[in-house]
Symmetry: C2
Subunit: 211 residues, 2 copies
């Protein structure tokens, strides 16, 4: 089973690396990082380079597609090469998935028309404008499409996906391996839990944090 994780300029790294870390050790699966061209792409702020190892043309029919998000998605909503690749791959994937604003690329490709899906909390309206049905759940599974909320939710999504690709015991073995027993020091990880002061601080920092 080939798992293609899409990389592009100005992506959010954890959107891609969370699922990668869960999926890369799954027996029978092979992860490959794909993109418009081979070589390095840089995250939003340019602080991290990640390597594209295969072009879209080289992996036309992966069994699983994972689309991460990031501010770089906005420049790709009308990108024909990525739209065509997503549509063609989706015809034969077992699973088509996204993390964060990666769902905007699936929606722009027409894959989420009328489909319940999620994205980063700050991009829900954009997702709706692109034809999907925004759904306020952390991981939304509809048929073979699984979309996840912001950034870190890709880890939860990938554990669900791992269970589908193998079995629940193997998925839990991956959870244990990455010691995913979350103990955040705060409880501010959703807009429903973060208080006014935290929401105000995010807004202040927004030009550097827009995903």
């Amino acid at each position: 089973m080939k798992i293609a994780i899409l990389l592009f300029p100005r992506l959010t790294a954890l959107d891609a690396i969370g699922p990668y870390e869960v999926l890369q050790r799954l027996p029978g699966c092979e992860v490959v990082f794909v993109g418009a061209k081979r070589g390095e792409v840089r995250t939003e702020n340019g602080r991290l380079g990640l390597s594209v190892d295969a072009t879209l043309d080289e992996v036309p029919r992966p069994g699983v597609v994972v689309v991460p998000g990031g501010i770089g998605t906005r420049a790709l909503l009308r990108d024909e090469a990525i739209g065509d690749w997503l549509r063609t791959a989706h015809e034969t994937t077992e699973w088509t998935t996204s993390v964060c604003t990666g769902s905007l690329l699936l929606a722009a490709a027409g894959i989420l028309d009328g489909v319940a899906a999620t994205t980063h909390w700050a991009a829900m309206d954009v997702l709706g404008n692109l034809g999907a049905v925004p759904t306020d759940e952390r991981v939304v599974e509809r048929g073979k499409i699984i979309t996840a909320a912001g950034v870190s939710s890709g880890i939860d999504m990938a554990l669900t996906l791992a269970a589908r690709l193998t079995d629940p015991v193997t998925a839990q073995a991956m959870q244990l391996y990455i010691e995913y027993d979350p103990q955040p020091p705060f409880d501010a990880g959703s807009v429903h839990k973060a208080g006014e002061a935290v929401l105000a601080r995010v807004a202040e920092l927004r030009d550097t944090t827009d995903g």
Copy 2:
């Protein structure tokens, strides 16, 4: 405040990228990925390339050091360049931190002698043999040293660190931004919670998952 995240061959990507994602947006902080030489390093299985942007010599006195883990740490326990860099940097850091088996490198450099610290659950004995006092907590803070347990625990560690570097509201803003409201589909993220079947499965898969 310069935050240096160490990269090396056969690292575990999420150990580095979890903290990166939390810390990269902190006001007043600048993340740089450092390593023995500039250019690409590959994760354990070679499936992902990450870019080293600065050599150790170029960043001798970062304010914060983050050392990720991975099977590649074992080949570096007697690496003089990394040991010297860690010891010298630690003299003037505000915070010296590790994720997963990154603490083995801190211990091998003599930084954890007699200090309570943690690592990946499967490497606790190795940590003790290197002079640290293995401590079964997800994030262990002792003075200016913060060590975290396996792989995904770097996110929790980085949120604690973010609060120390800025303030709790800003740290919570980072948590909200990455939507870190964990909802794993299973509860098998620690050896105390995973059942016998899961532990047996990890052991079976061990040659590909050793971190």
